[in-house]
Symmetry: none
Subunit: 500 residues, 2 copies
């Protein structure tokens, strides 16, 4: 075998895997957006078949042989190919460590889990969801042990989403946040609350909100010929290639704010996927490198851009045009304060910038305890509610607004939550770095966000998976990650807003 | 090999084919509904890969061997399995009769044809489409001769879409229609036209039309947990299994009528697919048996139910609730007359119940003449325009609104058109038969259409592909097909509406 022959075999297998992943992704997207309820069973069968095909390709002896050959001859490869083979073998090691029938069974479990979770949430009935979530966690523990038998399973799990992340590092990170955010929140709560009554309670029709979404996608520079928007229970982003990205939102007619920040958040994910370098397209290196880096981009758009005074100033005329009666007499400054109201609340996705990390902390601690067996699935609601009381000071009235609120566990995304808080903290440090060369506020005021998106494309987006997340981050930041940028940002912002 | 072993091999292949077809169907549906514009290239690659996989499964020696074994041991099979194997081998025989390189060339020709047709239609430039359409017709003649060397090629072609259909039968059918419809239309045109001005020109917002669609789906008894509605350029129905059917519509804000009848028409197709017997699910016997029977169901709902006085009476209060200003002062009787206005027109898909069959007749006569060589492709526009003048009494101003209007020929669907007119005529005879045991008008008036849909399920839907179309029809009707029911229906209806 020559290197060229091995590369051809490798590329051919990757193209087939990508085609199958594309088909599976579209089936899932369709299932979440427009498919009728009872379609789940048929979709489950088709997904099981396709994922079986993908598994067979991914673990085909010819592919493994070619990849191993390329690794052994890596000095003959260009740096991009070398990196791709390295990532492929790394990911393959995980898949190959799982027995095929267990892998397929897990895909089927997840397909079933979504409908069970939906119904359980609707009925606020944790008991009906408990067996499924137990199965999902047990499977993840088992898979983690197959993959890294000598390592704490939750460390393995964290590292799958963010290479190199451990419980030790995550504990240190959250401790740094807790130390600053919990007292800051107490000070905020002692002050008079800002008024956000005008963004609630009136009717904000879906049709006008849809127009608002289109406008927001334009403002944040999304190319709509390559990215469409759908409607789902829980907003998300999915992507098939750099010319086919989908974001979703959920329109609540009692406020335009929920969908507004969903669109900007998911739009941040979409921008990252839409701007991988062209030469990475069709390879495993195209698209976002990790969940935390992905969240750093989505939360960058949502919070550092979308919740800035300048951004509200920029979009407020359009809001008043679309909702003239609902926003009559409201000023941009009132809107700025309203969208930055900080207050302990029940729902993570609706949480403000200040309390958000505490919601994530609850989930992180619970996952850790489920993995090491110190709590059982049956105890989940009680533990959840106790932690909300401890960190956020509030009572959880029912599981619908408590432990059943997120889709992550039913989607198999266990170990994923810390990414959200890490992403926010990465983003704050990027903002500080960006300010050294970009007039961020000036760009937002002008309505042309390209100096900002240009910086992100140049330092993050275009690299796809060429570097591991920590290396990418340090290259972009010029120094190691430091959560102090995030806590400083929060303290400065909320001190000003609440006059602390 | 035992019969059980052969059945297992056969079923396993069919399940894989169905999974791939499901995935391809969803990719196409997504492409037509919500995918961003530039996604086409990536989708094309994935579809090409999946269709290649499907071809390999369909022509796998193991499958052919098992199917042939089952045919040779058909006395050991139950009637349903026997029928399925027969249908599988019948379809396979056609494909196998064509030399592979000619088959591949034809697929490539059709791939090219779609874009050429789109552009030719846009530019109203028949000359640029002529070489392609010539090639497509010649190929179809050649393929028909490979398949059935001793038979007139157009008979073979007709029989592929509607087994047992011949030119002799189709001629007799259209002659019977022509004889009655052409003079009837002349009499209608001599009378004052009904007023339908109020359903045009005002603004009927999409949002209210979406609610109207939901309502209409309920009225015609569609289970929305198994059938969702999307929005596309041209309305269509697609189906993946009996719990996953999709219809689409197109909202034109200048009238609610276009989408209304799209929803009811596509809803008729959907109902047929949704009600195959459970025991056929997962086999090749599930779903509609032929295009004509399918059209009989869609046009039954659209015309015999949806354009009846009772149906308009039933839904009119909802229409006025959704469009109070637009329909102020309009009576149900005025609406009934408006949706039944008959008038010669240029575009088949927009034609009324009375003139529709004449549009189909033009296409049938042209296809027949192209097959037997009595006209050439170059003469097509002139022949088309002459026939529109003769049968519909109108001048065709350009080929865009003439011979280039339909996508069927560029899609290779030659011999397909008669299905549309046959379907209407089958439906009229079903209506007459249904009346013997069902109070059709009473059911519609009551708002509970289940006596009607129950009859259709019992006599048509539940059988899937268990019987060939003609046998299914005769079993349902209790007598052979007779177009007189259709012409009687038209004469009675339009005599009353126009006071002839």
């Amino acid at each position: 075998m020559t290197t060229q022959e091995a590369l051809k075999i490798y590329r051919d297998h990757i193209a087939r895997m990508k085609a199958l992943n594309h088909a599976m992704g579209i089936l899932s997207y369709d299932g979440a957006t427009t498919a009728p309820v009872e379609s789940a069973e048929g979709r489950g069968k088709t997904l099981a078949y396709l994922s079986n095909c993908a598994y067979e390709i991914e673990t085909a002896p010819a592919l493994m042989e070619a990849a191993q050959f390329l690794k052994d001859h890596s000095q003959e490869l260009n740096p991009q190919d070398r990196r791709e083979i390295e990532l492929f073998l790394r990911e393959n090691e995980y898949t190959a460590s799982i027995p095929q029938e267990e892998f397929v069974a897990y895909v089927e479990l997840l397909n079933k889990a979504d409908a069970v979770w939906h119904k359980a949430k609707q009925d606020s009935d944790f008991a009906s969801f408990a067996p499924i979530v137990k199965d999902i966690f047990e499977t993840n523990v088992r898979f983690a042990k197959y993959y890294k038998p000598g390592q704490a399973p939750y460390d393995t799990q964290l590292s799958r989403y963010e290479r190199g992340l451990t419980m030790e590092k995550t504990d240190a990170f959250f401790n740094a946040l807790k130390e600053r955010i919990v007292p800051l929140l107490k000070k905020v709560m002692a002050k008079p609350q800002v008024d956000d009554s005008f963004i609630w309670g009136k009717l904000y029709p879906t049709e006008a909100q849809r127009k608002f979404s289109d406008y927001l996608m334009d403002v944040i520079t999304i190319n709509k010929d390559r990215c469409s928007i759908g409607e789902t229970e829980h907003p998300f982003t999915t992507f098939f290639n750099k010319k086919d990205v989908r974001i979703t939102t959920h329109y609540h007619e009692e406020t335009p704010i929920y969908s507004m920040y969903s669109v900007i958040h998911e739009g941040g994910h979409a921008l990252y996927e839409l701007h991988s370098a062209d030469e990475l397209e069709g390879t495993l290196l195209s698209g976002g490198v990790s969940m935390s880096i992905h969240e750093s981009q989505s939360r960058f758009m949502e919070n550092y851009i979308g919740r800035s005074r300048e951004f509200i100033g920029l979009i407020f005329p359009k809001m008043q045009e679309l909702f003239p009666e609902q926003l009559a007499g409201v000023t941009p400054e009132q809107m700025y304060l309203a969208v930055n109201k900080a207050e302990p609340s029940l729902i993570r996705t609706e949480a403000d910038e200040l309390t958000y990390a505490l919601h994530v902390l609850v989930r992180y601690e619970i996952e850790k305890s489920l993995f090491d067996g110190s709590i059982s699935v049956e105890e989940l609601p009680a533990v959840w509610n106790a932690k909300y009381k401890e960190y956020l000071g509030i009572e959880v009235p029912d599981d619908k607004r408590g432990v059943l609120q997120d889709s992550h566990w039913s989607g198999g995304n266990v170990g994923y939550f810390p990414s959200y808080a890490l992403g926010s903290a990465y983003g704050a440090q990027m903002l500080a770095k960006m300010r050294q060369s970009v007039d961020v506020e000036g760009a937002i005021r002008s309505g042309d966000l390209r100096p900002i998106t240009g910086w992100l494309e140049e330092h993050i987006w275009k690299f796809g998976c060429l570097y591991d997340p920590m290396e990418l981050l340090e290259r972009a930041l010029g120094e190691p990650f430091n959560p102090r940028y995030f806590t400083d940002y929060l303290e400065e912002k909320f001190t000003a807003i609440y006059g602390l």
